[in-house]
C-alpha cells in the first residue's frame, strides 16, 4: 500500500469513529460538535475523491449551516425544559432505529459493491456538451442547465422548510420577528469578527459564486457563506432577525425559484422548450438565475436558524 492509500484508509476509519461518537455522545451539544467534525472530515473525503464542488458544499452546508441549526435547536430544546426528558426513547426504539440504519447501510453497501465495472457514467457526454453552455465547470452545467428542474425544486424545498419553521409560531407573534440570535452586549471578540470577517466573507462568497461558472464553487456554497456572514452580524447584534412579514425578506426568499421558473418559461418562447436556453445566451442566463438563487439561499438559511417569530408585531 502506498502512503496515500494508508492515509485514505485512516481517513475512512476516522470518519466512522466520529460517526459513532455522534451517536454515542451523551449531550446534544457534544453530538453536534461531533457532527460538525464529521462533516469536515467528509469534506476531506470528497476532496480525496476529486469532487471539490461536493466538498465545498459538505463543508459549508453539511457541516457549517447544519451545525448551527442543530446547536440552536439543541439550545431551544434545553430551554423548553425537562418536560421532554420523560419522553426519552426507550431501548426498543433505539434497537429498531439501529436495525433500520443497519439495513439501509447494508443495502447501500450491497448496491455499491454490485455496481458494474466500470460504473455507468454520463461524464464523457457532459464534458463534450459543456462548450454549448459556455460554462467551464461541468457541475454547474449539470445543476443549472441539464438538471435545472431538480435544482429549482431544491430551492422550493428550502422555501417549504421556511414555511415549516414559521408555521410553529403562535398566533399572537405572527408577523413579528424571531428572537435575537445573540446575547445583549456582545463580547469584543464577536465584534471583531463582525467587523473584520464579515466584509472579507462577503467578498469570498461573491468570489465563489462568480468562479462557480468555471471552477469549483457556485450559488449553493456561496449562498451558505453569505448566510454565515449574516448570521455573524445577527449574533453580534449589529442587526436583528427581520420580521417574518417584511416584504423584502419574502421577496428575497422567493426570488431564486421565481426567477428560475420565469427563465424556464421564457425558454419555451426563446428556445422551444421548458428550461431550454437559447444558443449563445446560456451562460448569461445561467449566471442571472444563479445570482437570484444565491440571494434565496443566503436569506433562507439564516431565517431557518433564527426560527419562528417570538416577538409580537410592533414598531
Amino acid at each position: 500500500m502506498s502512503v496515500l492509500q494508508i492515509l485514505d484508509v485512516g481517513l475512512a476509519l476516522l470518519v466512522l469513529a466520529v460517526a459513532v461518537w455522534t451517536i454515542a455522545a451523551r449531550e446534544i451539544f457534544g453530538a453536534v460538535v461531533a457532527y460538525v467534525a464529521y462533516g469536515l472530515l467528509l469534506a476531506i473525503v470528497w476532496i480525496r475523491l476529486f469532487a471539490p464542488d461536493v466538498a465545498l458544499t459538505e463543508a459549508a452546508i453539511g457541516s457549517g449551516v447544519t451545525g448551527i441549526l442543530l446547536v440552536t435547536s439543541g439550545a431551544r430544546l434545553k430551554s423548553a425544559g425537562k418536560a421532554s426528558a420523560a419522553a426519552k426513547p426507550g431501548l426498543s426504539l433505539h434497537l429498531s432505529a439501529a436495525a433500520l440504519s443497519l439495513l439501509a447501510a447494508t443495502a447501500l453497501a450491497g448496491v455499491i459493491l454490485a455496481l458494474p465495472e466500470p460504473s455507468p457514467t454520463l461524464a464523457p457526454e457532459a464534458r463534450q456538451e459543456l462548450a454549448a453552455t459556455g460554462l467551464g465547470n461541468p457541475v454547474t452545467a449539470v445543476l443549472i442547465a441539464w438538471r435545472s428542474f431538480d435544482t429549482m425544486l431544491e430551492k422550493i424545498v428550502l422555501l417549504l422548510a421556511v414555511v415549516g419553521v414559521w408555521s410553529v409560531a403562535s398566533d399572537r407573534f405572527w408577523g413579528g420577528a424571531p428572537a435575537p440570535l445573540g446575547r445583549a452586549n456582545p463580547q469584543g471578540a464577536l465584534l471583531l469578527l463582525e467587523q473584520t470577517l464579515v466584509p472579507l466573507g462577503i467578498l469570498v462568497g461573491v468570489h465563489i459564486f462568480w468562479v462557480g461558472a468555471n471552477a469549483p464553487g457556485g450559488a449553493f456554497q456561496a449562498g451558505a457563506i453569505l448566510a454565515a456572514m449574516w448570521m455573524i452580524v445577527m449574533i453580534a447584534r449589529a442587526s436583528e432577525p427581520p420580521r417574518v412579514n417584511s416584504l423584502w425578506l419574502r421577496l428575497a426568499l422567493i426570488s431564486g425559484p421565481a426567477v428560475f421558473i420565469v427563465a424556464g418559461l421564457a425558454g419555451i418562447g426563446m428556445a422551444g422548450n421548458f428550461f431550454a436556453y437559447p444558443d449563445g445566451f446560456a451562460k448569461p442566463i445561467i449566471l442571472f438565475i444563479e445570482a437570484f438563487m444565491l440571494l434565496t439561499i443566503a436569506a433562507t438559511l439564516p431565517v431557518l436558524v433564527a426560527g419562528p417569530p417570538r416577538r409580537s408585531f410592533g414598531p
Binding site: 463580547q187 469584543g188 471578540a189 471583531l192 470577517l197
Partner: protein
C-alpha cells in the same frame, strides 16, 4: 536552488506538523479547559503558519500564494476570536473543568 527550496519546505512543514502534534497532545493531556484551549490555538496559529510557509515556494502563481496566506490569516482571526469566546464562556460559567 530547487534542492534548497525543497529542503526548506520539508523543514517548515515538519515543524508545522510538530506544532499540530504538540497541540493535540496538549489537548488530550492538559488538566483544564483554558490550558487545553491554549494548546489548541498554538497549534492552529503556528502549525498552520509553518505549513503555509513551507507550501509557499511550491505554488504556481502569486495569486495562489496570496490565497494560502489569506487562509492562514482567516484561520488566525477565527481561531483567536473563538478561543476568546470559549474562554469567556468558561469564566462566565465559573467552572474550570
Amino acid at each position: 536552488m530547487n534542492f534548497a527550496l525543497d529542503l526548506f519546505s520539508i523543514a517548515a512543514i515538519a515543524a508545522g506538523a510538530f506544532f499540530f502534534f504538540a497541540g493535540s497532545v496538549g489537548l488530550l493531556r492538559f488538566p483544564d479547559s483554558l490550558t487545553r484551549l491554549h494548546a489548541l490555538s498554538k497549534a492552529d496559529n503556528l502549525g498552520l503558519g509553518l505549513v503555509v510557509l513551507g507550501l509557499l515556494p511550491r505554488v504556481g502563481s502569486l495569486l495562489d500564494a496570496l490565497k494560502l496566506l489569506a487562509i492562514w490569516a482567516l484561520v488566525l482571526l477565527s481561531g483567536a476570536a473563538s478561543a476568546q469566546l470559549i474562554g469567556r464562556a468558561l469564566r462566565r460559567r465559573g467552572g474550570d473543568e
